[in-house]
Amino acid sequence: MTGRIAQTTHIVSACWVLVLAIIIFIDVLGRYFFSQPLLGATEIIKNSVVSITFLQLPLAIYRDGMIRSTIVYDSLGQKAKRVLRTFSSVLGLLFFLGTALSSWPPAVEAFNVSEYEGEGALRVPTYPVRFLVVATSFYAAYVYLHMMFLDWTGQRKSMLETTNSA
């Protein structure tokens, strides 16, 4: 289930990249052939970078795709490795919990005062991206928790194998 959700947000994000390419295509063609670029394209592109990144984070964590130096880790025994993995997950969990919690007040404020970017016809509200960061960070924290659970119940290895072949 955890993997399924992470995979789903990842697919959404992957398709978002393609949609972004299409938006750019329409914007440029509109500009050259109809003197009418897509209103708000710049703002959409900018905010998409954040959304795309955060939607991909849970799966990147789930697949152990975060970059690390493994020199010490590789030289350890199985038990020590697991302790280190757990410590790593705890820090990851705290990090994303902290990110989610500290992103919450500004997101609520953005919603309350209808914070926007751009002006006139292209006022793009900022709260969707802000809440997306909150939600995906919470989920990333949960993925770390889940990984610890799998690790201590002996299911982590098999999980990695299945997702790698997926």
Partner: protein, 333 residues
């Protein structure tokens, strides 16, 4: 005792006047006076150019307390500081920055709501205002008639983008530090920008066509605020010095801004930029197309629960009383 204060801005201190005067005047003056007049010392950590908070994060950084003192343009907080952008709602005002800042100061003094809004909602106190000098339009493509701008992407800070509606441009919201690359590579082809920064940010290199439209100087668009808790933590005599130096910064920075407006234009001319004046009747026509804009924005501020009509009206009246001749009559009803 030794007190540590952190001060910062999203704009770099060199090319942007308000940040430069923070670095060159406010900080040394604070340190000097506190050291000379009290038993205390100040240690000031400075972070300009967004190294601590970007232009759109400074209000929040002061609110949280990452910054004790922050300088920012209210134009990058179009929702939270909606009404603090009152000067943007009334284009084609006086071209002198000092004049504009003095007018804005009168409005700030007459309407304590402007300070209270900052204190109650965002935990910060106003210690000084500054602003921008006269807004013109620089572009990477030449244009003659206003119709030539149809469909061209032009950038602005935000609240000034509606000024361009008449011309049928595609408005893009952007920030100064991105402007060069964006115009160089064609993300957009023009910028609503004042002379003090146009030359300092080298925007004449990618966009040498500078048309003097004169949307007016934006007094009060820049505010310098201090986290209220940080301010209250300071001993009374230090607190007084902070507020006094804030006021003297306000006067000092206003003058420097106008000097930089003049030298900026000169430097643009000397560096080969193509500068031209917009004919007066075109400017008047432009202003007429925006005659209801102040009223619309005032009403939107009202609908956001802010004293929009009062403050916009007061600002217009203050300018009128100074003897300025508006190119169009603005009515707030």
């Amino acid at each position: 005792d030794l007190y540590t204060l952190r001060i910062g801005s999203g704009h770099p201190a060199g090319p942007t006047v308000y940040a430069g005067v923070l670095r060159d005047y406010l900080v040394p003056e604070l340190k000097r006076r506190v050291s000379a007049e009290t038993e205390h010392e100040l240690r000031i950590i400075e972070g300009y150019g967004g190294s601590i908070a970007s232009v759109s994060e400074t209000l929040e950084a002061v609110q949280v307390g990452i910054l004790d003192i922050g300088g920012f343009c209210t134009c990058f907080e179009p929702a939270k500081m909606f009404l603090h952008n009152f000067q943007y709602f009334v284009p084609f005002g006086p071209e002198g920055a000092e004049e504009g800042i003095k007018a804005a100061r009168r409005v700030y003094d007459a309407y304590p709501w402007l300070n209270e809004h900052l204190e109650t909602n965002y935990g910060q106190s106003l210690i000084a205002i500054n602003g921008w000098d006269n807004y013109h339009l620089g572009s990477s493509v030449p244009w003659e008639a206003v119709e030539d701008l149809q469909g061209v992407k032009i950038a602005g800070a935000g609240p000034n983008l509606p000024w361009l509606e008449l011309a049928g441009v595609i408005p893009v919201q952007s920030i100064l530090p991105d402007a060069y690359m964006a115009m160089q590579t064609g993300v957009y082809s023009g910028w609503l920008m004042f002379p003090s920064a146009y030359f300092a940010y080298k925007l004449h290199e990618p966009a040498p066509y500078y048309t003097l439209i004169g949307f007016g100087a934006m007094g009060g668009a820049i505010i310098i605020t201090m986290n209220t808790r940080s301010l209250e933590r300071l001993p009374l005599e230090v607190r007084d010095i902070v507020l006094e130096v804030g006021r003297s910064y306000e006067n000092e920075a206003a003058k420097i801004l106008d000097n930089r407006q003049i030298s900026g234009l000169e430097n643009l001319r000397n560096s080969g930029a193509t500068i031209r004046e917009l004919p007066n009747e075109v400017r008047a026509q432009w202003a007429r197309s925006l005659s209801n804009f102040p009223n619309e924005m005032a009403k939107e501020a009202d609908s956001r629960g802010m004293p929009g009509s009062e403050i916009v009206r007061a600002y217009i009246e203050t300018i009128t009383q100074s003897g300025y001749d508006w190119p169009v009559e603005y009515v707030i009803n």
